[in-house]
């Protein structure tokens, strides 16, 4: 059966779509994670914590689905990436899941009992549920840029070297901290926008300003490390961009500086790193000038710019292998079949607009700042 879109185009579309999903996750659930990482710092008593929690209580669950859908979509469109990355980063993934498990129960159960000790424990759980995923995601991205320690045998079964602690290198710690700074900034922008004026909002702006500077510095430092730290891969053989998904068909090789070649070849791609630097500045300005929507807009730009920079710099690589570059997974060798990519694109084209429509509606229903009075008096508030 001839499909209306060729295999190469579909692979490109799906590469971009996964980028959209990951950015969608970071833009929406990102501020949930950031707000919870800020919880102990911006809120000093139970009422203040409840105010922070109730800025996201009604919408965080839908946001989290971007993460789950990201997993499912990678499984469907990039099965090699799903198979190799989650088993290769096994214990890191376990940490993320264990931390994320604390969130649904934390939000729901915290308010079920009044004892301060009970609530303090759940505050810790929510803090861990916000900070740990933010950190580990960043560390994982750092390791992807460095190349992961895996090889594929002739049956395309993956084998790994390395350990959980081996994931924490100076560079991946830097990317981990960048991820935390970026999401904390985003969370602070959200809280500034969503809370009624008062001490909590004041503190959120102050911590947000620190995070904005940190994100800016760490992003620049990360860029410098990528440029001069010898990172990068390139294809060593000509690739059939419409060929079967089998990494053994065309070899890749390590190529120091390889992560910069795309920006040199396609100047428009520079828009991403520029946005990544510009976003935190805008956010900082918004936080200082008490223009909360501007702050949140700036942090959103930062999220888009920083994540897009990583994706574009690596193209066509998705998951390079440090110990066996020939096993590296790319856009051209790690996708699903032509038919599956097409069917899934149709499904996305039908359902994503519907999802966006009702998500927008849900945010409109919940529109407005959260204040002390509502948190104290509304029986439905956490």
């Amino acid at each position: 059966m001839a499909l209306p879109l060729d295999y190469e185009t579909l692979r490109l579309i799906w590469w971009a779509l996964i980028g959209v999903l990951l950015i969608g996750f970071a833009l929406t659930d990102g501020f949930d994670l950031g707000a919870m990482a800020l919880l102990p710092f911006v809120a000093r008593n139970d009422l203040e914590r409840r105010m922070v929690i109730n800025t996201i209580s009604a919408t965080w669950e839908g946001n989290q689905v971007w993460f789950i859908l990201g997993g499912g979509a990678i499984f469907a469109a990039w099965p090699y990436v799903y198979a190799v990355s989650f088993s290769g980063f096994y214990l890191a993934m376990f940490l993320v899941l264990a931390a994320l498990i604390l969130r649904p129960v934390g939000f729901k159960y915290r308010s079920k009992r009044p004892e301060p000790a009970w609530r303090a424990r759940w505050d810790w759980a929510l803090f861990v549920g916000g900070l740990v995923p933010a950190l580990v995601f960043g560390v994982a991205v750092g390791n992807v840029l460095l190349g992961a320690p895996f090889r594929l045998d002739s049956d395309l079964r993956a084998f790994y070297e390395g350990s959980l602690l081996g994931l924490f290198t100076p560079f991946s710690l830097l990317t981990g901290l960048l991820s935390v700074a970026m999401l904390v900034l985003h969370g602070a922008g959200w809280l500034a926008m969503k809370l009624e004026p008062g001490p909590v909002q004041f503190r959120a702006r102050r911590f947000g300003a620190v995070a904005a500077v940190a994100a800016l510095v760490l992003f620049a430092a990360g860029g410098a490390y990528v440029a001069w730290g010898g990172l990068g891969f390139r294809m060593a053989e000509l690739v059939d961009t419409a060929g079967p998904s089998n990494p053994h068909l065309a070899r890749a090789a390590a190529a120091p500086g390889g992560w910069l070649t795309n920006f040199a070849a396609h100047h428009w791609m520079m828009a991403a790193p520029v946005l990544g630097l510009f976003g935190p500045v805008v956010a900082l300005a918004g936080l200082r000038m008490r223009q909360d929507a501007l702050a949140f807009g700036g942090s959103s730009l930062a999220v888009v710019g920083i994540i897009a920079t990583v994706g574009l710099s690596m193209f066509p690589f998705i998951l390079p292998s440090a110990i066996d570059p020939a096993s590296s997974l790319t856009v051209w060798n790690a996708s699903s079949s032509h038919l599956t990519l097409f069917i899934m694109l149709v499904v996305v084209a039908v359902f994503l607009p519907i999802v966006l429509a009702y998500t927008t509606w849900a945010y409109r229903v919940m529109f407005g700042r959260v204040g002390e009075e509502e948190v104290r008096l509304n029986p439905d508030m956490y």
């Binding site: 209580s57 009604a58 919408t59 965080w60 669950e61 839908g62 989290q64 689905v65 789950i68 859908l69 997993g71 499912g72 979509a73 990678i74 499984f75 469907a76 469109a77 099965p79 799903y82 198979a83 190799v84 989650f86 088993s87 096994y90 214990l91 899941l97 264990a98 994320l100 498990i101 969130r103 649904p104 129960v105 939000f107 729901k108 079920k112 009992r113 049956d155 079964r157 993956a158 084998f159 079967p244 089998n246 079949s337 038919l339 069917i343 899934m344 499904v347 996305v348 994503l352 999802v355 009702y358 849900a362 229903v365 919940m366 009075e373 509502e374 008096l377 509304n378 029986p379 439905d380």
Partner: protein, 529 residues
């Protein structure tokens, strides 16, 4: 493959899936019960129905949080513990999982926020719509995950591609409209409705026994009795036996459930008791009801239910043919352009998975001797005694629920809410649907062994190349986390039930209070005639 890694990975999956599935059935069923109750509120505008909906909604929320928390793990576990499985079938199996996220999880998760936080922000109809979307979303989720699972039981619409060393979709329609998946979906969601109905009936009965919250208890009792009876009938009548005759593995599952070692003349009898022995390949002390199995299994008086012995002999033939395909794949790996090998592969490709069974006994299946072939053929028999007893446990409970709900419905219709014996039974049996449901999962998945995907990929090949230490770490971690959360969840649930329903006054922002009062309606100023 390191079999310890395989066994630990199976243990991990079973633990996390069985645990997740403690919370899912209540979500599936209670969400629809909430829809029914809230519909009555919207239609009658009587606040008591709103309070009823809000009370059960509170219990729903406590349960739902655990379902979401434990469900997170499920989406990523295939990649974490079953890496080769994920590669081998991801082209087919990943799609329903992604669609589940897009079509079901978003719906469920977005509207559940509006359901809990929208009481004062939405009109009654809008709120009912949100509740309905939660129910629809959670049930869609069951649909897509069972399409994925149905494909593992009966892999239609896909073929092995030697160029990519994996299964690829050939016909997506067949994957979605897989008869096994459709039967499983109806069976599973109905089981969820039964669980929720037993829960609502049990809690209501406890209130009736204590003489508390009678307004709520009687109404909830009636709703649950009616919904429960319909669901219990659906579980049994539309149960998933319709898929058993489709494939060799499904036939093997049926034969194992019935511990039928040799094919019986049609129509076969069904064993109500027996002691199946896996080592002796026989069943001792069997007590049979004639004809019943043949009629249920084949829906005819002449169809035969094949026994284990002939199915093993058939599996051995498929292993031999599978070796032809395996040999061709190895040649194609060396030279993808080998036309003769390609032709050889096409003749036997449907049996490739059977050759892979040999990898458990020899490194290179092509070098297997007759003894290894025999061992591999017998390895297609799942755990017979376990299946025999678990199935009987599940099915017995299924029939029990029909009787239970029929009685409850009679009581509700005759307004007899004071039969203490029945109320006590209703409280006592609250755990039973969960036992039946977990047994059902075990029958389905143990019955699928030794396959991860029937006839395509043996389970032991699907595992990731992890160390036992890594898997023990996550098993210990999840067990600890889940145990603590289980204790907390049950305590909160019991506390919420003890507290009972609460009155509700929608919160109004203060700024609304200062706005001028509405002008009196004209009718008030017009004197009555």
């Amino acid at each position: 493959m390191d079999m310890a890694v395989v066994e630990l990975s199976r243990l991990q999956f079973a633990l996390t899936a069985l645990y997740h599935f403690l919370f899912v059935p209540l979500t599936l069923g209670l969400s629809f019960i909430l829809v029914i109750m809230e519909s009555v509120y919207v239609m009658t505008d009587r606040p008591v129905w709103r309070d009823i909906t809000r009370f059960w909604g509170k219990l729903f929320g406590i349960n739902f949080a655990m379902g979401v928390a434990t469900g997170l793990v499920m989406e990523f576990q295939f990649g974490m513990n079953w890496s080769y499985y994920s590669h081998y079938v991801g082209d087919v199996f990943g799609a329903p999982l992604a669609i589940e996220g897009l079509m079901a999880f978003f719906l469920e998760a977005t509207f559940v926020g509006l359901m809990f936080f929208g009481w004062d922000k939405l009109s009654a109809r809008q709120h009912l719509f949100a509740t309905f979307m939660v129910a629809l979303g959670s049930n869609f989720s069951a649909l897509w995950i069972l399409i994925a699972n149905g494909w593992m039981q009966h892999p239609t619409g896909a073929a092995f591609n030697p160029m990519t060393m994996r299964m690829e979709v050939t016909n997506f329609y067949d994957v979605v409209f897989n008869p096994v998946a459709q039967a499983k979906f109806v069976h599973t969601v109905s089981a969820g409705y039964v669980a929720a109905s037993v829960f609502v009936l049990g809690v209501s009965s406890w209130y009736l026994l204590k003489g508390r919250h009678l307004e709520l208890a009687k109404r909830s009792f009636a709703v649950a009795a009616a919904f429960g009876l319909a669901s219990a009938l659906s579980v049994v009548v539309l149960g998933d036996e319709s898929g058993y005759t489709l494939t060799d593995n499904q036939k093997m599952k049926l034969a194992a459930i019935e511990a039928e070692w040799h094919t019986e003349p049609a129509p076969a009898g069904i064993a109500v008791f027996g002691l199946p022995s896996s080592s002796g390949h026989e069943t001792l002390y069997e007590v049979k009801i004639p004809y019943v199995l043949g009629i249920i299994g084949t829906r005819s008086l002449t169809g035969q239910v094949e026994g284990i012995y002939p199915l093993v002999a058939h599996a051995r033939l498929r292993i031999e043919r599978g070796l032809v395909a395996y040999d061709a794949v190895e040649k194609l790996k060396a030279n993808p352009k080998d036309v003769a090998a390609r032709a050889q592969f096409e003749t036997a490709k449907d049996d490739l998975g059977y050759a892979l069974l040999l990898k458990r006994f020899v490194a290179d299946p092509r070098k297997a001797d007759a003894a290894a072939l025999d061992k591999a053929a017998w390895s297609t028999v799942p755990n017979v005694p376990a299946l025999f007893w678990m199935f009987r446990g599940m099915a017995g409970l299924g029939f029990l629920f029909i009787g239970f709900f029929a009685t409850a419905l009679v009581m509700a219709n005759t307004r007899r809410f004071d039969a203490k014996w029945f109320l006590r039974v209703a409280v006592a049996i609250i755990p039973l649907p969960w036992i039946a449901i977990e047994l059902g999962w075990l029958v389905a998945e143990i019955g699928r062994q030794p396959w991860a995907v029937d006839g395509v990929l043996p389970t032991f090949l699907g595992a990731s190349s992890l160390t036992t230490g890594q898997i023990w770490t996550t098993i210990a971690g999840f067990t600890l986390l889940y145990s603590v959360l289980a204790v907390i969840e049950v305590r909160l649930m019991v506390a919420a039930i003890r507290k009972g329903p609460e009155g509700y006054t929608p919160w109004q922002p203060r700024r609304d209070a200062v706005s001028p009062p509405a002008a009196p309606r004209p009718s008030h100023s017009v004197p009555a005639e």
